[in-house]
């Protein structure tokens, strides 16, 4: 379990990071907490001749909450998301999701930026950010740009980010209403067999708006616009739940792996989504 040799860089500024990426091209990769990249390097499934550690970059671990707008720096850890009391108040879905990621030790190191940038379909935060309608912020040699989380994921490990860009933060409007992140996994530390992120707002006893995203049920996270639409205007009754599940099942495309065959995953996805909707509705 010894990775291939690499040169280690620990720059102090984003300018230095961009310059290193420009200089070394495909031979360089940035690392946040390293808890996805290091295992891949140990297995020699990833070879990184120039490893750029982001831990000393200033302001990259900031959580800002201003006028109902929330921004999370890429180096904010899952542990930070769990323990930040103001964030837990303004966007409790993040804490609920982070608590279901990996185990305590991994959560001290694992970051929101790594979880979003990695592009592994098993990562939980991409679905959460799609559910929240977040924007992902990148910096590259030509400056900064921002991409909707719902447009960011192209295929497994393929995102809209160019090789010379770095994911620096994610931001979104502080959500209102009820929330749930429901995840079925085989054991602590496992990726989801199926997981659902749901936000629901309520008005006069009916669902006023709903957003639904699913994790690890396709090679990208799936924001199901139709599943959300199926809930709006209903009182979250049984028929509404069935309609939302049917719509979601039309959008996912799971594949068979050691978590089960396709039919099982589709079954679990339906159960998990119903639970998530019911819990979010109860909190709306």
């Amino acid at each position: 379990m010894i990775p291939a040799a690499f040169d280690y860089h620990r720059p102090k500024s984003m300018d230095e990071v961009i310059a290193l990426l420009g200089e070394h091209g495909d031979d360089a990769r940035v690392m946040a907490g390293g808890h996805s990249l290091i295992p891949m390097m140990k297995l020699r499934m990833a070879e990184v001749p120039h490893l750029i550690d982001l831990q000393d970059i200033e302001n990259l671990a900031e959580i800002t909450i201003e006028e109902g707008h929330i921004s999370l720096g890429a180096m904010v850890t899952q542990h930070d998301l769990i323990t930040h009391s103001k964030l837990a108040l303004r966007a409790p879905i993040l804490r609920e999701a982070a608590l279901q990621i990996a185990d305590p030790q991994v959560r001290y190191m694992g970051t929101i930026g790594g979880n979003l940038a990695n592009g592994d379909p098993g990562n939980d935060m991409p679905g959460v950010m799609q559910c929240l309608g977040a924007r992902i912020n990148l910096i590259g040699p030509d400056g900064a740009r921002s991409v909707a989380a719902r447009d960011y994921y192209e295929a497994a490990y393929m995102t809209d980010r160019e090789d010379d860009e770095v994911l620096v933060s994610v931001d979104f409007q502080a959500p209102s209403g009820g929330y749930a992140y429901e995840k079925q996994k085989r054991k602590i530390g496992d990726y989801a067999t199926a997981a659902a992120a749901v936000m629901i707002t309520k008005s006069e006893g009916k669902i006023a708006s709903a957003s639904v995203a699913m994790t690890n049920l396709s090679d990208v996270p799936v924001w199901s616009e139709e599943a959300g639409a199926a809930l709006v205007g209903t009182a979250c009754d049984g028929a509404a739940l069935e309609a939302a599940v049917a719509a979601m099942l039309g959008d996912i495309d799971p594949s068979e792996d050691n978590r089960g065959p396709v039919a099982f995953k589709r079954h679990v996805a339906g159960v998990i989504l119903k639970r998530a909707i019911t819990r979010a509705w109860g909190r709306a």
């Binding site: 379990m1 040799a5 280690y8 620990r10 305590p104 530390g189």
Partner: protein, 164 residues
């Protein structure tokens, strides 16, 4: 490429300096360069927690950190927790409640548990199980580990109350 780096760590209060390739995993630097063999190599894949150490206030699996990343950090290992003739209250309770059988996972368990109790001095049984979920034991079935940690927590809290 792969030139050795000058690494500085503070381990259990002592300054340490040595040369290492950046790719060396922290667990091997601790065990083989510094002869600090309390943290164990279990799975080496960040699952089992036997290699858990505290780095700048975080419980970390030292098999999943390059020594270069830890450069400049303060580290506590099981060697920095209690003394053979003056055990830490967690160690005392692991002994008292038979919180170990073969003992292989114990350094990681106790190192993690010190941090858990620091962050949550009065945990419920569920919180102990959740907070220890990154550490695997293949002997005890966890019952006595949980009992040991809960008992240590009440002892620490009782001592705090008595001091007030």
């Amino acid at each position: 490429m792969s030139d050795k780096m000058h690494i500085k760590l503070k381990v259990n209060g002592e300054d340490k300096e040595f040369l290492a390739e950046p790719r060396e995993l922290l667990i091997y630097a601790l065990r083989e360069k510094l002869n600090i063999t309390g943290p164990h190599v279990g799975c080496e894949t960040s699952h089992c927690g036997a290699c858990t150490v505290t780095i700048d206030g975080k419980s970390v699996k030292s098999c999943t950190m390059f020594v270069a990343q830890a450069n400049g950090a303060e580290i506590t290992t099981i060697e920095g927790i209690g003394e053979p003739d003056a055990l830490h209250v967690l160690q005392e309770n692991f002994r008292e409640h038979h919180g170990l059988q073969c003992g292989f996972c114990t350094p990681g368990m106790i190192t993690r548990a010190t941090k858990l109790l620091e962050e949550n001095p009065n945990p419920t049984e569920e919180e102990v199980r959740f907070g220890m979920a990154g550490n695997i034991c293949r002997c005890t079935g966890y019952q006595n580990i949980v009992k040991s940690i809960l008992s240590a927590a009440s002892e620490i809290n009782a001592a705090k109350e008595a001091a007030q």
